[in-house]
């Protein structure tokens, strides 16, 4: 795979981002660039602030200090109306799917289209929902409610919903955690396809190092509120940072043994 072109225009750029909740400091000076059309994987321990960082990229959280530059524009000062416009470029997959539990699977997946592309006929919407569900390997569950689905299925429905409007940037918060290996593979493939065919810029939070290194152009390791290491998968494998080495060692041991 071609290494990411670091000179390409950054689609997402974070500059000196700080965020605390009350007295609890979560992020203390994040710097990060995601070139257009590339995939960045964020690694980091549980509770290290990966989700908090991702929510800043789409304006769900406001930083205490710093800049979040999307497509050349600092979104930190944006108000609700500007953010709404911005978010039409985004899709986001939540850690626990975040499906609307008062709606069926069909209503959930159709939701973005029914909101933003009112000109489409009902038949078109149905076909689109079916198509996106097929991408994540689901069919025939349109009339079921999220509560009746397994965790893995909910997650895939969340994925289908996130790609309904064919966004230019997709944020995945642990898209494969809790999925079986075959589904994990198909989600990885989906992330790769979206990049190759549609030029999508992706940010993926992952705990699965194997799949992270497969989809990533760049990997960033978050620890103690800062990005302690950032580079291509090959560069990160040979990093000397002790925290990162400790994080990766469990996986490398497994790989060596097999």
């Amino acid at each position: 795979m071609a290494a990411a072109d670091q000179t390409a225009r950054p689609m997402i750029e974070i500059v000196d981002l700080h965020k605390s909740f009350g007295s609890h400091t979560v992020l203390s000076g994040i710097n990060l660039k995601v070139p257009q059309g590339s995939t960045l994987v964020i690694l980091g321990g549980s509770g290290s602030g990966k989700t908090v960082m991702m929510k800043h990229m789409i304006g769900l959280l406001k930083p205490d200090q710093g800049q979040v530059i999307i497509d050349g524009d600092d979104i930190v000062p944006y108000g609700a109306v500007q953010l709404e416009q911005l978010r039409k470029k985004f899709g986001m997959v939540f850690q626990a799917a975040a499906l609307f539990d008062s709606m069926t699977v069909y209503q959930n997946v159709a939701f973005p289209v029914l909101e933003h592309r009112k000109e489409l006929s009902e038949a078109k919407v149905r076909a689109l929902v079916k198509e996106k569900l097929a991408v994540v390997g689901l069919s025939g569950i349109e009339e079921r409610y999220p509560a009746d689905l397994s965790g893995g299925m909910r997650k895939r429905v969340g994925l289908a919903r996130a790609i309904m409007l064919e966004p230019k940037i997709v944020l995945y918060d642990e898209p494969t955690t809790g999925l079986d290996p075959i589904t994990t593979d198909s989600v990885d493939q989906m992330i790769l396809d979206a990049k190759r065919h549609l030029g999508v810029t992706s940010v993926v939070i992952s705990h699965d190092i194997a799949s992270a290194f497969k989809v990533a152009d760049n990997v960033a390791f978050l620890s103690q509120g800062v990005i302690v290491e950032q580079g291509t998968p090959a560069q990160l494998r040979h990093s000397t940072n002790p925290a990162l080495r400790a994080y990766l060692s469990t996986w490398f041991d497994l790989e060596r043994r097999s």
């Binding site: 789409i58 769900l60 978010r87 975040a98 919903r161």
Partner: protein
Amino acid sequence: MTAPIDTNAPPKPPNAVKQAIEGLGLTLGRLVEDIGGLAVLLIDVLRWTVRPPFRAANLFAQLDFVGVGSALIVALTGIFSGMVFAHQSARAFEMFNSEALVGPTVALTITRELAPVFSALMVTMRAGSAMCTELGTMRVTEQVDALETMAVNPVQYLLVPRVLAGLIMVPVLVMLFDAAGLAGGYFVSVLVKGVSAGTWLSRTQQWLDPEDIAEGLIKGAVFGLYVALVACFKGYHASGGAKGVGLATTQAMVMSALGIFVLDYFVGVILH
């Protein structure tokens, strides 16, 4: 350096007075914070009410839930309040031989006070608690965030229909309560206590003005707006999982119920 912690030492006995004062301070602090938060949310809701798109389907669902869903319990509360109040008034006025005043007393009390206060309390209990829990669950399971990332404003999509439903439907329920309460009051006064039907009706008509009914409706609108706003505020800002949602709902119930009585006094004073 941190002091070593002796895990075997018994905990210090709490100082009850100190705790009570601290508790009061915390409560007052939160009260001021909550009132500020409510005001901010009210402005936000108003702003998003007048901006298109208008979400008629969401509004009708909430009107149905708040209004139609609460109609039966409000009607029942109305009938029994009217009956109880007529019973007690009749007992009292019998002592002065002035049973003719039973009708007007019951009618004025119901329309001005009992109907708006009890209707709002019933709506708080039934609809407010459900609103708060639903919004809180949506918040802690990131459904509110999901809505935002799909470029749909959650205040407009979720809160505006609920607040409008409170504002519109509580006055409607007040009218229902008025009708049920007067019917219950008439029943007990005339059929049980033996007040003459002619006297009851003519005296009630003579004393009960449209302004009295209007006062109840205005109060109903204020209370309806308030309790829906409180339920939305507490639910929308819930945090900390299922436990946090439970806590938010409890706080919403207390804040709504107390607020109704406080507002009742001030609206009454302002109107007269």
